[in-house]
Amino acid sequence: MTPVMGQYIRPEAVAWAAFILVVGLTFAGALIAVLPRNIIYNVFGLATCILGVAGLFIFLGSEFLAMMEILIYIGAISIAIVFAIMLSQPMHVRIPPAWRPKLYLSFAVSAVVFVSFSVIVLRTPWAVALERSQDWTVKRLGELFLTRYELLFELISLALLVAIIGAIITAAALGGGRKPEGEP
Amino acid sequence: MNPGFPYLSAILLAPALGLLVILLLPHDNRRAVRWVSLISAGVCLILSIYIYAAYDRAAAGLQFVERASWVPSLGIFYYLAVDGINLPMVLLTSIVFFTGVWTMWDLQHRVKEFFALMLLMVVGVYGVFLSLDLFFLFVWYDVSLFPMYPLIAIWGSTRKEYGALKLTLYLLAGSALVLPGILYVYFQSGLFTFDLVQIAQAGLPVEAQYLGFFLFLFGFGVLAGLWPFHTWSPVGHVAAPTAVSMIHAGVLMKLGAYGVLRVGMFLCPQGLADWSPLFALLATVGIVYGAFVGLAQTDLKYVIGYSSVSHMGLVSLGLATMSVGGISGAVFQMFAHGVMTALFFSSVGHIYDRTHTKLIPDLGGMAKVMPRASFFFILAALAGIGVPCLASFWAELLVFIAGYQAYPLLGVCAVLGLVISALFMLRVVQKTFYGEKNERFAAAPDMTPAMALPRALLAGTILLFGLLPRLALDLIDTGVAPLVGMFK
């Protein structure tokens, strides 16, 4: 960004615009992830939403996390979901519209949660820590993972390993021995 | 006080050992199973008769004491002893148990399980009667109750699942009142001991006794057939097989009355004073009501079931009077009614086995067909009516006198119940045993002498204690007198 442009376009305005874009991306993606009946749209919505959240992470000062977010959610989870969709639900099956009362009920419950959590958010006196370190670096993160959060780190790895093995076993064995049609 | 040989533990152990041996025996060896049961019952009977005779009536108080700390931190003791109140009950249990096992000699269906469960039940009954520790008392109480369900549901007859379920639910409901009662007493006494004698001697706070007695009265009262919590008992009697009916009506119902007496009245004498009018009222209603309902029954066992309600009402009335006469009468009535009702059920059991009906309209003229069975039934009926020189007469006499003294109006109503009970007993005797015999059963065999022997033992007990009531009452008085002292 050149200083010339800076005369016309103020950095704060750019930041604002970017922020609004990111928030919009998040909400729009979330809505797309939830509302359409076609599951493929939902996955794309999820990806969009993840992009927005990654942007928010940047705004919150952690580029590393934004990167990880995109890597894991879009690169791993969304792809896995797409595979699952391809392996399960045939695309051409028409999905009937949702049962109305259930829709309303869901909305009502969500609204209640929204209201109550809003109240919580607003009424809690958020206290800022007295001393704040300014060390946002990945290096610091790495150190923490290998020192104070060592055990958790290991546990998470273990959990992932177990999850993967479990997923394989579940998908392979618990499927009920019924082979997909067409195979000998 | 140290008798040397632990007689009471031996009484408790004999059926338990028998149970173990039976469990180890092979399934198809019915003979051995029967003999083991009979021998363990016989050992109990002999030991009971011995301690009944050896109890020092002049010294009175608790004798044959066996006391050992079991869980010191909670104050739980293994504490067995007998006095004038539970000694007759132990003797009663032994007699009924012994005759019950003998009566079921011809059982063919799942013999091993039957006798095993019966022995388990009897261990529990002995445990309740002998234990003076609230914790053990409650544990034994539940041990004695739970075999009832399989015993009725497997070997029973008429609506057996319904009867078994109803009985179990009622008794568990009662149990559910007793347990909080015991814990309440445990904490209210401030001693943190389950030792019944210690708590009774220290005395509970007066205001705690009100609730405490309420819990015990209705908790144990359910098992004693206290009106209006009585309907499980006729249904259960009807459904149960012969020996189970005998033990059930003869002994188990006494557990309830004994619990009210031993736990409720010993621990909460002041509570009894508060609840006594209601207690007496329910008892009297039970006496009259049971007799009237008995009038309308057509099933022999229902008739006896309702007569039990009526007679157990007498026990309750006696307890509610708070006088030596009334309580002695109640204890004696428990004994007498136990023997009498066992005789009833064993005779009806024989008739049912031979004719496969216990409906009164189907029978008739049985006195010609089965003179022995009829004799025993009629003797029991006469005892139930309160004919003098049979054991229950004396008990009823004492209860009526005490009842009239404490609550004149209720006493009169209770005596009126006597007439009604005479009417319905004689009606049953007439319709079942007299009149033209039903040709369908004309060839039904009478009891063999071997099977008449256990019944004769019961009948002999009724006559013996009827002719010589002091045999029991002198003993009972020694146990009751100190209790009544606590009411003052």
């Binding site: 209640v112 959590f117 009424r123 809690t124 | 003098p388 020189c389 006198i401 005490a402 009169v412």
Partner: protein, 630 residues
């Protein structure tokens, strides 16, 4: 009058009399029952020896001055003690002789009457049981002992009435007798409790001596009336009188023994036994008089229309018992006891004679008997006549004298109505007795039977049987004829040998009673006895009265109605319904409600994940809110 302890002889004799019948009962019932002859022998010996003991005791104490008392504690519990023992005084000795005497004669008679009956040994066992109860009742030293044996007497009565229990009517009658007397005993028992709680002493001597001074008049009257309730039941007085005619379903010797001479007289005996106690309350004695009078008249009318010979004597028994109570109620202690004594003799005789006829002709209907030639049995016929005449009060038989004493006791009362009622009763008695006698003596062969024939008990047997039965008749007939002369002696004996106060002698009373008896007998002669009489009473021309009398004044109907509609129909049915519907229904309803609630809750478990999530999330949100806001 302080009692003395018995010496060895008295003790052993009394215990022998009390114990032997019990021994005999157990022996016969449990041991010798299969061997009939042996059983009869045992029973006879065990009833004969008490008779000898009784006579010995009576003779030995003819001039006794103090009662003999012996007691031991039978039961003791909670301050209540029941004693077992005996009290020998003139009254109990006299009654002991009557009981053992009649009992022995009836047992001899039964040898013939029950010959061939399959249950003969059991019958003798029951007779022994009865003898034991009755003897112990008579000798009882305390009221509680008396009550106990009073009940046992009721039990043996039940067993003997229903002896032929394959007959429905017999078992029904036994039950009726037991329950109705039980109803009366209820009062008796309550009376005993009242006395026990207020006096603490139930000995008969104590009651007679102290009750009047230690009890308030109200309590005294109440307890006396309660005790009299028991008497009403046992002695079949109004309103509990209908069981006794039904009790005739028992074998005839049983009727003779229990239901005329001894057991039903126990009520009279009890009132005499406690006579000083009853005297303490004029109201109670007044009630005794009223009940006795009503019963006597009522049952006499019933006897006037009966055609069953045993029924006639049964009604007559009730009526004569009422007569005894009139005497006692009027204050005539000796009158009641004396009539009891003579009545025992002639009524037992009447029944035993009837038994011979019933046995012989296998019917209970005396019209049929007469037509079948009852006249030919000379001994029973003569005995019947003697006894009937005694019952009517014909001079010089025993009944005349005892009836006179009762009537003179009635004449002492300020109100002459009682005497007139007594005389009326005597007239009715003469009428129905002579009605039967004339029918028996002068049968009408051509005429259709006045009543329907019923099948009686027994059947035809040989001469040996006849004479075994006839021998006791002769003994009793002699007694009936002679007892009248023993009146003064008995009176002084019963009064402890003290000189009697000179009673007012009513010469006109003798005349009046003779006139009344003659009138009754004359009416019977006109209707039944004279040649060409239609043998139909004047009552058969008044259907209303006939029905009333034949249906026992509808008392039975009333009881049946009460039993069916109140006891069974109302209480029993309602209570049963309550048990099924309310109590059981409540519990079952509760159980069903529990099941239903479980079912309802299970609806929430739809298996749909998202509905569970709704609840979960909602609750979490609200709980969070709650903790934050509150």
């Amino acid at each position: 009058m302080t009692p003395v302890a018995p010496n060895g002889g008295e003790l052993s004799l009394a215990l022998l009399a009390m114990g032997l019948p019990l021994l005999s009962f157990f022996l016969v019932f449990f041991v010798t029952r299969p061997r009939v002859t042996l059983s009869c022998a045992v029973s006879l010996v065990c009833s004969g020896l008490p008779l000898l003991a009784a006579i010995w005791l009576l003779a030995g104490h003819w001039r006794m001055e103090a009662p003999i008392l012996w007691e031991l504690t039978w039961m003791r519990g909670g301050g209540v003690a029941v004693t077992f023992g005996f009290l020998l005084d003139p009254l109990s000795l006299l009654m002991l002789c009557i009981v053992t005497g009649v009992s022995f004669l009836v047992q001899v008679y039964s040898l013939g009457y029950m010959a061939g009956d399959p249950g003969k040994a059991k019958y003798y066992a029951f007779l022994s049981l009865f003898a034991w109860s009755m003897i112990s009742l008579v000798l009882a030293s305390g009221l509680m002992q008396l009550y106990i044996f009073w009940e046992l007497v009721g039990l043996s009565s039940y067993l003997l009435i229903g002896f032929w229990h394959h007959k429905f009517s017999a078992s029904q009658a036994g039950k009726k007798a037991f329950v109705m007397t039980r109803l009366g005993d209820l009062g008796f028992f309550l009376g005993i409790i009242v006395l026990l709680l207020n006096l603490g002493d139930l000995s008969i001597l104590g009651l007679n001596q102290q009750a009047a001074t230690r009890l308030t008049p109200g309590l005294l009257t109440a307890s006396a009336l309660l005790i009299f309730c028991g008497v009403v039941g046992k002695s079949a007085q109004f309103p509990l009188l209908t069981w006794l005619p039904d009790a005739m379903e028992g074998p005839t010797p049983v009727s003779a023994l229990l239901h005329s001479a001894t057991m039903v007289a126990a009520g009279v005996y009890l009132v005499s036994r406690l006579f000083p106690f009853f005297q303490g309350s004029p109201q109670a004695l007044g009630w005794v008089l009223v009940i006795g009078t009503v019963t006597m008249l009522l049952s006499s009318t019933m006897a006037m229309v009966a055609s069953d010979i045993k029924q006639v004597w049964a009604y007559s028994t009730v009526s004569q018992l009422g007569f005894m109570f009139m005497g006692l109620g009027a204050g005539g202690y000796f009158a009641g006891v004396y009539h009891l004594t003579t009545h025992a003799a002639f009524k037992a005789l009447l029944f035993l004679c009837s038994g011979v006829f019933i046995h012989h002709y296998a019917t209970n209907d005396f019209f049929v008997m007469a037509r079948s030639g009852a006249r030919s049995l000379k001994v029973p016929m003569l005995s019947l006549t003697v006894a009937g005449a005694a019952l009517s009060g014909v001079w010089p038989l025993a009944g005349f004298f005892s009836k006179e004493t009762v009537l003179s006791a009635l004449a002492e009362l300020p109100n002459p109505a009682w005497l007139w009622l007594g005389l009326l009763g005597a007239g009715l008695t003469a009428y129905y007795t002579f009605r039967l006698l004339f029918v028996m003596w002068r049968p009408r062969r051509t005429q259709p039977p006045a009543g329907h024939a019923e099948h009686g008990e027994g059947g035809h047997h040989g001469a040996a049987v006849y004479w075994v039965m006839a021998a006791p008749l002769l003994v009793l007939a002699v007694l009936t004829a002679l007892l009248g002369a023993a009146g003064p002696a008995l009176e002084s004996f019963l009064a402890w040998g003290r000189p009697l106060p000179p009673g007012a002698h009513h010469g006109w009373l003798v005349a009046a009673s003779v006139v009344v008896v003659a009138a009754g007998a004359g009416l019977a002669w006109l209707e039944f006895g004279r040649a060409g009489a239609a043998q139909q009473g004047f009552l058969s021309r008044i259907p209303g009265l006939w029905n009333l009398f034949a249906n026992r004044w509808y008392l039975d109907w009333l009881y049946r109605w009460l039993l069916d509609h109140v006891v069974y129909g109302l209480f029993s049915r309602l209570f049963t319904l309550n048990d099924r519907r309310v109590v059981d229904g409540g519990i079952d309803g509760f159980c069903r409600a529990t099941l239903g609630a479980g079912w309802l809750l299970s609806l929430l478990q739809s298996g749909l994940l998202q509905y569970n999530l709704f609840t979960m999330v909602l609750v979490m949100a609200l709980v969070g809110l709650y903790f934050l806001l509150v």
